[in-house]
Assembly symmetry: C2
Amino acid sequence: MSTSRHLRSWVTSANDHPDFPLQNLPFGVFSVPGLGKRGGVAIGDFIFDLQVALEAGLFSGAAQVAAEGASRSQFNEFFALDASARQALRSRLLQLLDEHSPQREQLQALGNLLQPMSDSQMHLPAQVGDYTDFYVGIHHAMNVGKLFRPDNPLLPNYKYVPIAYHGRASTLCVSGAPVKRPQGQTLAPGAEAPVFGPSKRLDYELEVGVWMGQGNEAGEPIPIAQASQHIAGFCLLNDWSARDLQAWEYQPLGPFLSKSFATSISPWVVTAEALAPFRRAQPARPDGDPKPLDYLFDEQDQQHGALDIELEVLLLTAHMKQQGLAPQRLALSNTLNMYWTVAQMVTHHSVNGCKLQPGDLFGTGTLSGPQAGQFGSLLEMTEGGKQVVELSSGETRTFLQAGDEVILKARCRKDGEVSIGFGECRGVVVG
Amino acid sequence: MSTSRHLRSWVTSANDHPDFPLQNLPFGVFSVPGLGKRGGVAIGDFIFDLQVALEAGLFSGAAQVAAEGASRSQFNEFFALDASARQALRSRLLQLLDEHSPQREQLQALGNLLQPMSDSQMHLPAQVGDYTDFYVGIHHAMNVGKLFRPDNPLLPNYKYVPIAYHGRASTLCVSGAPVKRPQGQTLAPGAEAPVFGPSKRLDYELEVGVWMGQGNEAGEPIPIAQASQHIAGFCLLNDWSARDLQAWEYQPLGPFLSKSFATSISPWVVTAEALAPFRRAQPARPDGDPKPLDYLFDEQDQQHGALDIELEVLLLTAHMKQQGLAPQRLALSNTLNMYWTVAQMVTHHSVNGCKLQPGDLFGTGTLSGPQAGQFGSLLEMTEGGKQVVELSSGETRTFLQAGDEVILKARCRKDGEVSIGFGECRGVVVG
């Protein structure tokens, strides 16, 4: 896709758009008043309606098959297609939306082809069969481990196993959905018995979501060399966490109610193709770290399997909203903080024969950097609630309060490439 | 349903049937050659085809609505109905199948109303949105805890929190599906680094499955007094477990690949109504155990919320099959070994606002008794692989070998009541 770097679109708001220039073309499920849920493509400040485009006969062959899948109210069938069909659709969309497109006048004459994003409501892109949350952010694992085991923050399996656990699919929600503070059991420090009530340590977690494309048959693992072909796209993911519920419930089987009340994702599926220019060599493992076991090792994946995506967390409190203040950045991090590649996650998940399906969603786990200003959760910023975060509004936080809005953003930048973004993943805490 | 206890059916194989007398009437999804998947009711050695019965106009009102839901190839819509609709269908089926039914001749004239079970293939009863595995078998928790922490087998949260974790929905399979031995990472005792290969410690777990009926809205917990109305039915569940994978991977986020390769369930949904006569008072908590927190406590649930279901594990090795030997019983246990009721499981799961949906499945966790002969896993029988199980065939086992078939059974017995059974949950280990 390196030929796309200088292209500009006749949809002028796309040119120099922070998130959705012609080079991005992410897919999303949207609705506008009077029209049911349907699939579209973000271009500048608009959504390119694939149903309208299909009716106008703009696609043929593999691109048409892909456009039909991506025009529906859920992308599961679209994600199930071979990556080549998705690529054919992308090539055709790049042609159609180019400023020099021969179809430009035909398209501009289609009155309802481009829906203003500001009039549209976004929805979950797929029915998620299973949601899996990984733990591949090594600095987060270190930061959290230090709170519990100062001398030995990383457990012995961490550098061999892409650690993960099954999450709750039913409470995945799309950016903008309010997040109700959960109730549950907590054990006060020094107390003998727990009490029941609202969580007092509500937190966010900065993660990237990974949409599974083609799956596998039960019992047939996906080899590491093929794993990247099974990824349809990416989004932002906020793994809301009630730290006080988590501390009391998580032994011996892991987090449960402390996470399952809500998980927010951004609505746009940024494709593997759009991210191709922002692939990198996997950062070198520190001296002394073991080489991945053979089933997780592929030279191509080591050379090109890492992602360079800048990640940001912002906070907008109710008070800041009232005062007309802008959201405040709490952290800036990057997907290069992943200890394992996405391909390694896919292969590990399926190596026992587990069946992965189109529309399954992975979270990466919290992607913190090693330093202050790069921490992807309040748990880390406050050292387990012991330090206070001072906000420029004059407020302070240890954990989230009612009315706080958490905003995740992501952007890819590279010299010589047009930057692309993920849009936003927002959620306001209620109660 | 106490009036049903002396009823007999004109389907003569139902009378004195070990599993499916007239008093049971479990629902299942089946197919026969030439006919697609559809819902039916087990009666003796036959399946009562609800599509044929509906076409014959045998239902009206709420019973018809329920019969339509239960006639489909997935029960999600059926499970979503109010419990009263399911009860109306049960009442009508009891009338129709009674030996004195006025419709007896009409029904007997419908040639394909009763499909021989032996000609039918059974399928998963519903599309499982989320699968949650609990840990409410206190003797299992004690037995396993002793292996890791001899002085302190139960963690401090156990008697307050109905411990659970999210499981993998995509690899749920129905009785009879072969179970392929998983591969994965294991750490040999004393080794510094793990190796990759087939699990050498493959095990079963004896559990009961719980089918969710009506769900809740996100953010709206189900109160304990209403929780039993949200249960549609029950099945047997084998939570196949690779102990060597589990030991290495499970810290800090719980079991993952050690469980997600396969979970087998029995195909028949034994309804809450059929189990009503086998409800019991929750066994008294031992002296010194805390009272459940208020949100988990309901006097009616304490008096009638426990289940008295006899549970059995049998093993049939390839050698035993070749020799024509019968399966050997490995354990006999009971659902009275549950420390928490099913209503407490439902309420706890939803108390943080987590959305439960019709067709969600819970496992109870392994239901072992306190004594030898009552252990629901080989891990417990062999004390973590240290003891050998001697089989009457002359073979021995510590963990499962290729060709081993594990068979779970369940039966309810009570003086003055006709016994009912769950059918079987079977699976053969491949590789």
